[in-house]
Symmetry: C2
Subunit: 326 residues, 2 copies
DNA sequence: GGCGTCACGCAAATCGTCTTGCGAGCCGGT
DNA sequence: ACCGGCTCGCAAGACGATTTGCGTGACGCC
């Protein structure tokens, strides 16, 4: 590929008429350098557009100024926003991010982690269905780790969402608005299960009002159909996430049901589309960006202020976004 | 941080009772090794969970198996999907991705590029408003580059979208459906300008039908308001992107205008919400994921099959997603 | 016994930078 | 003339692996 011969520290030294030692010391301030030579060296560095080879530096210093980020699906807005926040937190400290989307494949994830271990200073793993065995290799390697969106306990920090509380808040909100028969469209995913649990604590519903569906637009629609067919249909429904909620609203519209007059609909996540559908969807937001930000800050601490210390756990509180659908 | 003492190649050699040379050779197959010792070495590697230090390897080999990705905003679904495609293309070849979201800040971008140059084998830069001067440093450094979403010419590959054609196709579609007065809500952005140009070639509209607005939900709404107030209002409107189109539909609904009966609405991008609003939005899709995939493949070629050769240019054709709003 | 092949070890060089002990000039002060 | 500070050069060692020329036993074959 004939990568153009990079200018090295020796080139700078030669051109500036000093030794590499001195150039290095100008850069690191590890030894005093006279103002005159410092200026000279900096001028040459500027002129030659010299950038120290980060690889060599990393090798010597045993730190790469890089953090590894593992997400199940970067296409999912939650992870995207979290990554954004994470980067905002670590970039000012000079850290880059290696990102890998694993499709939630455990084998892929394992390989990626192994590869990463020798090239990053810390790792952020995300995904609601993480197990201890998935993250153990990182802990064993002594690499700082922050878990995002899952809630495990081990030698690492955790930042997650108050899903259960969130489910409860949603239910309470509906109760407060006067709804009496509140249904829940649930799925098998971890967060949905916790949201369901929170809802249960508030309303103790008859089992027929809890309908398991697929985590999709169609799933939501089918759930709404099932509920509408009940002998005694609900007057409100909480859906495992916003996409399902939107699907449910469609089905309601198809059946001539008015939202929220005939049936109220709530979702979770506050995706972009939630504010764009009509009626605008009332939902429980997740502070995804803040998740990432906090994860980044925690990781920085572990990587710099020398990471020992108790594992920490940050849980983001539920946040209601009241709009028109409930 | 007391990173646990990593096992090195010497540890493996010692435990296997062979020399580092041999261990290295079973890994690289650069010299023949007897089946017996190869097995022994591999067993020890497994047992010790040895992973060669990628940094040292990269340094020696002068290649990092890492590509740098620069996007204006990773939160934007277009770039997210493109990144997904990119990763799908390069991961099988053993490449990682360093991703940085620059907020389209030129200064940030410049710094990031400089940092990246010493640690990646290739770079993908994206953003519609790239200028030659932004990418020149990469070319100068002799690092393979692929530009995504912008259309410049230089010593690098380009993959972009047929925005102009896309605008023309949208206009033709409306004409074909019998619409006669077709308006356009435009913004200052590059892609929007090209889409507008395509539309102009098809309909040669009176100037009053081209209304410049802000690139947002509100912008779309205001644009619709303006058009509705015209002495002779349009019967269709093409919006610079889907978000504006959705805003326009809202305003139409507020004014009692039925879409598409009273006025048809089209957008660009095919964002998630486009399929979720009602009526479902007819729009021109961008094959974002494919953009990334192709970019990845092009970059791989440059990095491996030894990159010389004519710069290549891939333009994705327009793709109409016909739904209910037009 | 001579010779060729195999399989492997040894040791040195490389990648580009940082770190450090040991001096060596130089200058000013006494 | 001596001494203490400064400023800087020299040279060697690390970081952890890859690569290679040169040997050297072992073994088999003629």
């Amino acid at each position: 590929m004939a990568r153009r011969d990079r200018v090295g520290i020796t080139d700078v030294a030669a051109k500036a008429g000093v030794s590499v030692t001195t150039v290095s010391h100008v850069l690191s301030s590890r030894r005093p350098v006279s103002e005159a030579t410092r200026a000279k060296v900096l001028a040459v560095i500027e002129e030659l557009d010299y950038r120290p080879n980060e690889l060599a530096r990393s090798m010597r210093a045993r730190r790469t100024h890089t953090v590894g980020v593992i997400v199940p699906d970067i296409t999912n807005p939650f992870y995207t926003a979290a990554f954004r926040g994470l980067q905002e937190a670590v970039a000012p400290a000079g850290y880059h991010c290696i990102v890998t989307s694993t499709d939630a494949e455990r084998s892929v994830e394992r390989d990626v982690v192994r590869q990463m271990l020798t090239r990053v200073d810390g790792i952020v793993m995300s995904g609601a269905d993480k197990r201890l065995e998935d993250v153990q290799p990182v802990v064993d390697a002594g690499v700082p780790l922050v878990l995002l969106g899952a809630d495990l306990t081990g030698g690492f920090d955790v930042v997650t969402n108050a899903d259960e509380e969130s489910g409860a808040v949603a239910a309470e909100y509906l109760v407060g608005r006067g709804y009496r028969r509140i249904a829940f469209l649930s799925t098998e995913s971890e967060p949905a299960a916790r949201r369901l649990a929170g809802y249960r604590e508030v309303v103790s519903p008859p089992e027929e009002l809890i309908v398991p569906v697929a985590e999709s637009l169609e799933g939501g629609a089918r759930g709404m159909a099932t509920l509408a067919g009940l002998a005694e249909p609900p007057d409100a429904v909480i859906c495992g996430n916003d996409v399902m909620a939107i699907g449910a609203m469609y089905e309601a519209a198809d059946r001539g049901l008015r939202v929220p007059d005939d049936i109220a609909v709530m979702g979770f996540d506050d995706i972009d589309a939630a504010a764009l559908v009509s009626p605008r969807l009332t939902t429980m937001a997740t502070a995804s960006r803040e998740h990432g930000q906090v994860a980044g800050e925690m990781l920085l601490r572990r990587m710099n202020d020398d990471g020992a210390g108790e594992p920490r756990r940050v849980v983001f509180p539920a946040k209601l976004i009241a709009r028109d659908s409930a």
